[in-house]
């Protein structure tokens, strides 16, 4: 696909998504040159050249240079000065600690459309690799030999993860499940479980809360996940996603996606608005499910503790926006999430969620009702409040969730968090990445419901 074609397609998607001309290709690359200088790993907006984040020290192919040699990529012109700056420190550690998250090598990126990397493989450190394929040591320790090729228009990586071993087979499985269920009930009745300082209750989350919403995830929204390999196996990372659809189902679905699809079954710790924590029942369930108050104190504490944190910076502006503005990112707050990532040196993982906006198409608002109830908005959808409680059933839209390549923040340093320019630029970059990924996902989705 040529650049021009892709551009036309994206523009069409933008129109289809109700986007005004605001994000036409001309204005899309607003990422400032300042950022490109400061942050070597960020893909420069115009460079079509493959960009090596850092070479993996133990990859045998000629494609990736040895750690100490300057980057020599015969296939493409070189990105100026940036890669060398970033490669020195991780490369020196890589040989001693092969299990540590190894630096990735990122494939060429068609930045005009911001499509997913053409080919990305995670090969075992000693495994052979063809010279045409970019190879990096896997971030995950267990999935070293698992090949993960994501072609441009290939079907999605893989379906939802299998359910825990179903006990339909032999009786032992059933016995074990009954014993497990009874043990769970016993733990709950005797208070024999631990919650962390944020009120997160992994026992309840794994055994009850996630199971409650998994049918919605698998059968109703049929969520397809892409780029799960962009989420590190361990350590802190900040997932930043778009918000939509009146009720924050997207947060729940992302939590299940991360837990079920990720090989380490990590828990996503979500940051929620204070309204969540002042609402009875919701507050209790949110804390037990791993959410905490959106604020720098909590975000930094979680990231410092090596947790995976999810944030929806659009907040109520995002989920309360009318259907006509679907998939148009709203303002990204004050960039608090970026400063939290900068202060803790954790990577930012942009995440695009398609499907949430169609669950409850907001065609109107009832501001008077909202004021009385103390809510930020009181939506009217085609079925709510017209059909009464039936209107609360979300439409079964088809969902795609894509986790983008992580934007490292550690080389900017913690001091950058106090530099509003850097914070705004990085916020903008994250926002643009999500917006572009949204458009490209919309192009790929066959229809709203399939």
């Amino acid at each position: 696909m040529t650049k021009a074609q892709a551009r036309r397609q994206v523009a069409a998607a933008a129109r289809r998504a109700g986007g005004a001309g605001g994000d036409t290709p001309g204005r899309r690359h607003r990422t400032t040159p300042l950022l490109a200088d400061l942050e070597p790993a960020a893909p420069p907006p115009t460079a079509d050249a493959p960009l090596a984040d850092a070479p993996a020290a133990d990859v045998p192919t000629a494609d990736v240079p040895p750690p100490d040699a300057p980057v020599t990529d015969p296939g493409a012109p070189q990105a100026p000065q940036a890669p060398q700056a970033s490669e020195a420190s991780p490369a020196s550690e890589a040989p001693q600690a092969p299990k540590a998250p190894a630096p990735r090598v990122r494939a060429a990126r068609a930045t005009a459309t911001r499509k997913r990397p053409v080919v990305r493989t995670a090969a075992a450190p000693s495994g052979p690799a063809s010279p045409r394929v970019r190879v990096g040591a896997s971030r995950r320790t267990s999935g070293g030999e698992r090949l993960m090729a994501v072609a441009d228009d290939a079907p999605p990586t893989d379906g939802p993860a299998d359910a825990p071993p179903s006990g339909s087979g032999d009786g032992h499985g059933l016995d074990r499940r009954i014993a497990g269920a009874l043990a769970f009930v016993r733990r709950r009745l005797t208070g024999d479980y631990t919650v962390d300082e944020f009120g997160f209750d992994p026992d309840l989350t794994d055994n009850v809360l996630l199971n409650l919403f998994r049918p919605l995830y698998k059968r109703w929204f049929r969520v397809e996940v892409r780029g799960i390999e962009n989420i590190p196996a361990s350590g802190g990372a900040l997932i930043v996603a778009n918000h939509g659809g009146a009720v924050a189902f997207d947060a729940l679905m992302t939590q299940i996606a991360v837990h079920d699809e990720h090989p380490q079954h990590r828990h996503l710790r979500m940051l929620g608005a204070d309204l969540v924590f002042s609402t009875p029942v919701l507050s209790e369930l949110a804390r037990k499910g791993g959410a905490t108050l959106a604020g720098n104190a909590d975000a930094e504490r979680l990231l410092q503790g090596g947790q995976l944190v999810g944030v929806w910076p659009e907040g109520f502006k995002g989920i309360g926006k009318p259907f006509s503005e679907r998939y148009k990112l709203q303002r990204f707050g004050r960039g608090g999430f970026v400063s939290a990532a900068l202060r803790t040196g954790t990577p930012i993982i942009p995440c695009a969620i398609v499907g949430a906006e169609e669950t409850y198409p907001i065609i109107g608002d009832m501001p008077a009702v909202a004021r009385v109830l103390g809510l930020p908005y009181a939506p009217i959808t085609p079925t709510w409040p017209l059909l009464g409680l039936f209107g609360l059933i979300p439409l079964p839209s088809k969902w795609l969730i894509e986790f983008g390549a992580p934007l490292p923040t550690d080389e900017l340093g913690a001091k950058a968090a106090d530099d509003p320019m850097v914070v705004f630029d990085l916020t903008d970059q994250v926002r643009q990445t999500i917006q572009q990924t949204l458009y490209s996902l919309l192009v790929q989705r066959r229809s709203v419901f399939f």
Partner: protein, 347 residues
């Protein structure tokens, strides 16, 4: 020649135990306990001086005994123990002002230890999950002990500005619990059926009473200064605590909690103020990094262990004990096994 320590509030449970403990401390040569009523319990070798900290007489006590360390433990938490909210407020606020004024006049005073509470952070849905010493309360406590403690801390800060040569340390304790101490929280947890706020399950930390004495001891003889949060490791949820005791909970809808609290207060069972209700809704957890780095204190009991010790010490076992639940589980497992073996022989 060791330190001469004045303990204000010595006739109360913790004050008395602390005075007794200080006497045994090698670096302390003399302990003077001050309170309005004689201590109901043994305070050992410590000398008791009957004086009201609301009265300027306290300055004479400090001057005559050449006190160099003052431990202020006389901020009262519950109106019932002070004989009403009015006198509680007077003891807390006016008493602190007088005591600090006396300390300011006494050139010999080198160290001031104030027993404060994590209640100064309040409880609200807008607060971060953990309070550090620098975190300001989003919603200041506006009743009772929390409000008084905020004012007391304000006066202490003022004092440390006027007397920069005095080392001031303020310990913000999480809820202190144990077999002996009686607080609003222990009263509440002793109810046979625990009323909770519907839809909320607060997180809280506890500190064992022995640990609180050890923290006070370190603050008195050590050289830590500033504000330090003190709490046991880990957190408990209220529902979890109730289940550990095997006691039933009754969720009360938020709108009626005030009325229910008042009824319970009338019955003289529990001190249910607005502050307490907010705590039972949103909970409170403090960061204890400074407790380790500045105070050098490591609690012996975690929150869970402190709570278990409290439950054991008070024999607060409800109908649904852990043993009973375990027996039920075994019974259920055996029953399932029998049903399945029968089904298996049929098929």
């Amino acid at each position: 020649m060791g330190r001469i320590v004045l303990v204000a509030g010595v006739s109360r449970y913790l004050g008395g135990r602390f005075a007794r403990r200080l006497v045994a401390e090698p670096g302390v040569s003399r302990v003077i306990g001050v309170d309005v009523v004689p201590p109901p319990h043994d305070i050992g070798e410590a000398e008791f001086v009957r004086a009201d900290i609301r009265n300027p007489v306290i300055a004479k006590v400090i001057a005559r005994a050449a006190v160099d360390t003052v431990v202020h433990m006389n901020v009262i938490a519950t109106p019932t123990s002070a004989g009403g909210r009015v006198s509680m407020k007077e003891i807390n606020v006016i008493g602190t002002m007088q005591l600090l004024a006396a300390c300011q006049k006494a050139p010999g005073v080198q160290r001031l230890v104030v027993k404060s509470t994590a209640g100064v952070y309040g409880s609200s849905p807008r607060d971060p999950a953990m309070f550090t010493e620098e975190t300001g309360a989003k919603v200041l406590p506006h009743t009772g002990w929390g409000k008084d403690s905020v004012e007391v801390e304000g006066y202490v800060r003022g004092f440390s500005r006027r007397r920069p040569d005095v080392d001031v340390v303020q310990l913000r304790f999480a809820n202190i619990i144990g077999p002996g101490i009686r607080t609003a929280l222990t009263d509440y947890l002793s109810l046979p059926v625990l009323p909770t706020v519907l839809g909320f399950d607060p997180r809280f930390q506890l500190l064992h009473e022995d640990d609180s004495l050890e923290a006070l001891r370190l603050a008195t003889i050590g050289d830590a200064t500033g504000v330090v949060n003190v709490a046991g490791d880990g957190v408990l949820l209220l529902s979890q605590a109730a289940r550990m005791m095997g006691r039933p909970t009754v969720p009360v809808p938020g709108a009626t909690t005030g009325a229910v609290g008042q009824v319970l207060r009338r019955l003289g069972r529990v001190d249910f103020t607005g502050e307490q209700l907010r705590f039972l809704s949103y909970g409170r957890v403090v960061d204890t990094t400074r407790m380790r780095t500045v105070l050098g204190f490591e609690p012996r009991y975690t929150t869970r262990e402190a709570f278990s010790d409290f439950v054991r010490g008070r024999r607060l076992f409800g109908p649904l004990s852990a043993d009973l639940v375990e027996q039920l589980e075994r019974l259920a497992l055996a029953g399932v096994g029998r049903v399945r073996s029968m089904a298996g022989s049929d098929g």
